[in-house]
Symmetry: C2
DNA sequence: TGCAAAATTAAGAATAATTCCAATATTATA
DNA sequence: TATAATATTGGAATTATTCTTAATTTTGCA
């Protein structure tokens, strides 16, 4: 939603407050998730921060993501079956929309006054709203060259 | 939601109307998804209908599910990352809730008057609402024996 | 009824995301 | 600085799903 850029210092503070050791790799993951706007998956994150850590392991990306999700700083999106995407958590609540043409994930406003129903006896931790369809670009050109660009991206 | 049992005849009709050939395997898959209440994943479906088809292949289950989803008779739930679950489609619209204790998926009412926001220029095909938390049983007994029962189930 | 074409099923290999594990390195602190 | 706790690596293992090909079944039609 409103994407104001977080500084490293702010992010380190967030991690500290959440009881997480702010390792360089962890910070890089959080920075990318928080400032990229792209709702990346683990592969995108891995490829993008690889620069800074030539010996980066995919395990580290997964470990960092788990730690950050666990700590409540990052949210896991299950909008794209079989591929987890990530978004910064502490934001105004919003929904997400995935385009079936290009795979891009967009922020989507929640319906006015949206509030989860409460269910007798259940403890509801979170409610996610996911939309699917076509984005403006893909509506315009169904067989666009952009098609599927974001789905299997990145070299290597 | 309201789970009235569909007869085989009704299901065959549904398939025919949707332009799908009602093979025995396909019918078995639809019958299980439609009448089991359990929001099964492909593994559960496979194991449950194996009785009737000793030579059943997992591919057939996947093929059937794809065909049924494509035809709009079955809905794919992405509530459980890395595991697709299925639900009968032509029902009053409702949300779903997954218990992080036992993995059971429950139907959940949508908030009153819930309607997707419309987004300028986007074509919205569907909007899904997924809740997470603890079901009554798991709230009562956090370290219950039932724990994780539904998550990695089935022998073989 | 009989046969060709089309569709479906089956079996298993291939793929891809994720998890697991053991070894090494880093960091925090006594 | 030594020790303990935690994090990172690398690679093997796991798991759901897809893909491929061949065999089988069904369907439409002569």
């Amino acid at each position: 939603m409103n994407h104001h850029i977080l500084t490293d210092t702010e992010m380190v503070d967030m991690m500290r407050k959440a009881g997480l050791r702010p390792s360089a790799q962890r910070l890089a993951v959080l920075r990318y998730v928080g400032n990229s706007h792209s709702h990346p998956d683990s592969d995108e994150i891995y490829n993008e921060i690889l620069h800074g850590f030539p010996s980066l392991s995919r395990s580290t990306v997964y470990n960092s993501l788990h730690a950050l999700v666990e700590a409540g700083l990052v949210r896991e999106l299950e909008i794209d079956a079989g591929n987890r995407h990530y978004d910064l958590a502490p934001q105004p609540p919003h929904a997400h929309f995935i385009c079936r043409g290009c795979g891009t994930i967009f922020d989507m406003p929640l319906p006015d006054g949206f509030a989860p129903v409460d269910m007798q006896g259940f403890e509801i931790d979170s409610v996610d709203v996911y939309g699917k369809g076509l984005c403006p670009a893909c509506t315009a050109s169904p067989t666009d060259t952009k098609l599927n660009t974001n789905i299997k991206n990145t070299t290597e």
